[in-house]
Symmetry: C2
Subunit: 590 residues, 2 copies
């Protein structure tokens, strides 16, 4: 079993020692579960990920999907084999209800198990991940008929799912989509339009593809208020569940990307031959709200995916730095002595420590948010449920953007540790770096996360989200009373005060353009404060426990407080000064 | 003529308005030159770069060199056509002496003209660039016979050159090379060994390839003191200049890289069939010193190459942001109104401004150093010559590393401005990002530049280099007496004091391991201070001159002082605190 995909030891630490997910088994929904069942699913995930996903990660990158002479998309055969193993293990339905054949796993445990696949092969993992997100949305909002016809086959691994939001002329601006859906006498719709960037948009992996399509019903409100959501299958399904005719959905072309090459990414036409049959999900004109519920989960998923790529890159670079010898200790120039392993050079340790602080910090953030989902959906205490939702809302843009930025940086450091070898395709780290560069772009760009955090999340409900985040962090601070933990807690407390101060200063201007001029800087600064908090949490759990693992947690926490948190000071200064540089910059100067 | 390769307006500003390169024409070496000849070479370079280099940048990336059935390396035909155009224009010998058929251009003007090629197609540009560096070294240290036999054909574009330093077991650690050269009765040597990462190491572009090989002569001193330098041609050249037999140099394989794919990068065996014929350059055991003279120029060249890639990416993203419409102004949600160009969103302007500050700052740094080479080699004032050399020594690690870090970041921002399109291979920016990721690795990694700056350059001659850098910056500060320039000058002056302070604190420990523990952080902090200085210089030249170009300089300077220079404060804090985190980190924790 390769140790370079992810660290089971770290997952155990976060899930059991920190988040105490075993306490969830006392709740009705998870009462069939125990440490044994959680361990089993984590173990099984690791095995399948290493055996069936990691095995073709490089091959899928080097052999992109293409459209064959028959117009069908061709993938390397290992992808279908991996998905067969994934489906047979019941992992497609792990988080879903028993009534749907699921395991009713807590979200935190489910996300941890799925992380193995994102780390082993993000390109292949995208097919089931999109399918699960699609199913999750339909289970929540679609009729029982749609669930029976489309969701059950997805959870059985026979159908796959997509999300069709963007259009060529409307990437981040969904108000401008032009795909339209016209109501027919039989209650179905006919969908016409073009969708761009559709991952998993066409392939022959299953019997069918279930597209979730955002479209406008003519006569409805303009902009985002007139967006509805439709199920538009690739192949129509008869009432008895058998596959019928091909629907009017056609593949225009495949996009060729820098990374994520194993995932088909497509331009799709709906309705070239008269209209694609679509089924309304929920009510008319509420499509964006439904999609956004899914989108919030997808955003946390992007952060976890970025973390997974950073994590595997970190483990690869540790492995290389431990085995490869090069140079001698400082001041020992005698060329007749043996060379030392790279890890013994202090600057290499700096690069490993930075990666460790980023990827373990990102993992803590993603699992914390996943645990909040468990609290929000299953706590028996209404206040806990409500607060978990409020905290999740404010943390979501950070959970998406912070790992996308810093675990990408980790991947760059993993290349650097490898030197020239890391820049070649003979090693794995350059692919992780290329794959991870997508994450600051999709599911809402970095800039959009900044606007979401500063423009919406911290001001909603008179700042209830920010206030709860602050009190939650202060609770941790109050427990850090000894030694370096107390020292870090003081630094964290000051940083939190600055978050509160600049938020107030920015919105005190009464000028949204000025307040939001540096929302990306705000996003990055608050993200660092949040991850510093999660490092303090980890430090408190590690305490003075013995062994290299806990010493590693203590050292990475120290790294984060010494090297990383202080980076926020100049960011808060900039924000507090209400800097207008970018606002005043005239477009003619570029 | 495409405007997306480089900015001639900016080159003119830096060369004529700031560095005053026309003053060089008063010196004997450049007395045949004038504004007209400088302009002509810049114009010609732009034309050839756009027409013959930019045209196949993507094609060369998508069609890597490969070894054909006959064992010969196959490149796309456009590479040879580009090099023919480059050679015919006399650009291969632009910087060399009239006696060698050169144009005797100042280094600053020559580097500016060559930058067009690095920006247009860094993969193809590498072949002539390595050849020129090789020729430059041989002109300085080799016998007239070697110059006649090998350098003249290189400058005529008939031969190409390489640098063979690294070996599979010795990347950054040249003390450990094992290639050996045995003296023969006829005064030649027989070379045996394996060289790794040799760019341009094999191809059929010219009649011959001139390898410059570091090797050890048996019986010589151990380590770097026993390294000698040899000319080892691919094909032996008879005394009358005609090509003779194939030398004993063989291609083992090609390396496949993330970027720079147009450049062959090879593993070469010397002496598989009894020994490759080699000719000693200069004296025995002085090879590393010769190579390091070239290496210093190569390092500035790497910085300029990184800048070139950042610059072209910046121009591509400005073009995209100006043409692509998406979304509406803040607070204007009416979807029936037209969408606005991306550049009107403040966060897009932030990303453009950051790129502008990085790439124009990097260009100023590279051209300043090139101008120092002119001063060092041609000033009639001995003090000026000496000082230029001292300043160049201290600036070289920064000139190499700063653009490699920040112009790579610019390439990442260029992708981000393009959104999902930037991540596809239909656009150009993802290639720039992949190409540029090499630059923090080759010609001395980022970490090695940090050790060079803090461990050698700022302490050499009792700190003469640092003292001169400080007084040079303070001279600029003293000229910044009005308005924002005075304000920035004060911030710069404080930052310079911190450089001096932490340098003294670090070395005051008397413990080199502790002093150098954070040499990479030192490198990055001092780099930002140096570039802030060069932005103040540019701001002073721009003054209150009218027009968008000068307004752009003022805005980018403001950006650098507001967003970038303050990042150094926590870095100086860390250094001043003599932080031991990385030093104390035990290797077992990873």
């Amino acid at each position: 079993m390769s140790g370079l995909v992810l660290s089971r030891r770290d997952l155990d630490f976060l899930l059991y020692e920190w988040l105490d997910v075993l306490a969830l088994t006392e709740r009705k929904r998870f009462s069939e579960h125990s440490k044994e069942t959680f361990d089993a699913v984590l173990e099984l995930s690791e095995q399948i990920a290493v055996r069936h996903f990691a095995n073709h990660n490089k091959k899928a990158d080097a052999n992109e999907p293409y459209v064959g002479d028959d117009g069908k998309v061709v993938l390397i055969p290992e992808v279908a084999e991996a998905l067969r193993a994934f489906g047979e293990a019941g992992l497609m339905s792990g988080q879903f209800d028993d009534s749907l054949g699921g395991l009713q796993l807590p979200t935190s445990v489910s996300k941890a198990s799925l992380l193995w696949f994102q780390a082993a092969n993000t390109g292949t993992a995208t097919y089931p991940f999109l399918t699960m997100a699609n199913a999750n949305l339909l289970i929540e909002y679609a009729t029982a008929d749609l669930v029976d016809s489309y969701v059950r086959p997805m959870l059985e691994g026979r159908f796959y799912g997509t999300m069709c939001l963007s259009e060529p002329q409307a990437g981040s601006s969904l108000a401008d989509i032009t795909t339209r859906a016209e109501l027919q006498d039989d209650g179905t719709y006919r969908v016409h339009g073009t969708k761009m960037w559709i991952s998993g948009g066409d392939h022959e992996l299953g019997e069918n593809i279930v597209h979730l399509v955002l479209a406008k019903i003519p006569g409805g409100p303009a902009g985002v208020k007139g967006i509805s959501l439709f199920v538009v299958p690739k192949v129509l399904v008869d009432t008895d569940g058998t596959l019928g005719e091909r629907n009017d959905v056609s593949l225009v072309g495949l996009n060729h990307k820098m990374g994520y090459r194993g995932t088909t990414n497509t331009l799709l036409n709906f309705g070239e031959k008269g209209g694609a049959v679509g089924y309304l999900v929920g009510e008319q004109h509420k499509g964006l709200a439904y999609m956004f519920k899914m989108m919030n989960e997808a955003r946390i998923g992007v952060g976890l995916g970025a973390t997974a790529l950073g994590y595997t890159g970190y483990l690869h670079s540790v492995d290389y730095a431990t085995q490869r010898t090069q140079g001698r200790p400082l001041g020992h120039k005698d060329p007749t002595t043996a060379q030392i392993p790279l890890v013994e050079h202090v600057d290499v340790r700096r690069m490993l420590l930075a990666q460790k602080a980023y990827v373990e910090g990102g993992l803590a953030l993603g699992l914390y948010c996943s645990h909040l989902v468990d609290e929000q959906t299953t706590s028996e205490d209404e206040t806990v449920r409500t607060n978990a939702g409020v905290l999740l809302d404010v943390l979501t843009p950070i959970a998406k953007s912070w790992p996308s930025q810093w675990c990408l940086e980790a991947n760059s450091l993993a290349i650097q540790v490898h030197g020239g070898y890391g820049y070649t395709r003979d090693y794995n780290v350059e692919q992780f770096y290329r794959d991870n560069r997508l994450n600051p772009i999709h599911e809402g760009t970095h800039g959009i996360q900044g606007l979401d955090l500063l423009g919406r999340k911290v001001v909603a409900d008179n700042g209830a989200g920010l206030a709860l985040l602050v009190s939650t962090i202060q609770e941790t601070v109050s427990r850090a009373t000894d030694g370096v933990a107390a020292e870090y807690a003081e630094a964290l407390s000051l940083a939190v005060q600055r978050v509160v101060g600049v938020t107030s200063t920015l919105w005190g201007t009464g000028d949204p353009a000025l307040a939001l001029a540096n929302s990306s800087v705000y996003l990055e600064a608050v993200g660092h404060v949040v991850v510093a908090w999660l490092w303090l949490e980890q430090l408190l759990v590690a305490g003075d426990k013995e062994g290299a693992f806990y010493e590693g947690k203590r050292t990475a926490a120290r790294y984060f407080f010494v090297y990383e948190l202080p980076k926020t000071d100049p960011q808060f200064d900039l924000l507090g000064n209400l800097d207008r540089t970018t606002l005043d910059a005239d477009v003619s100067i570029f």
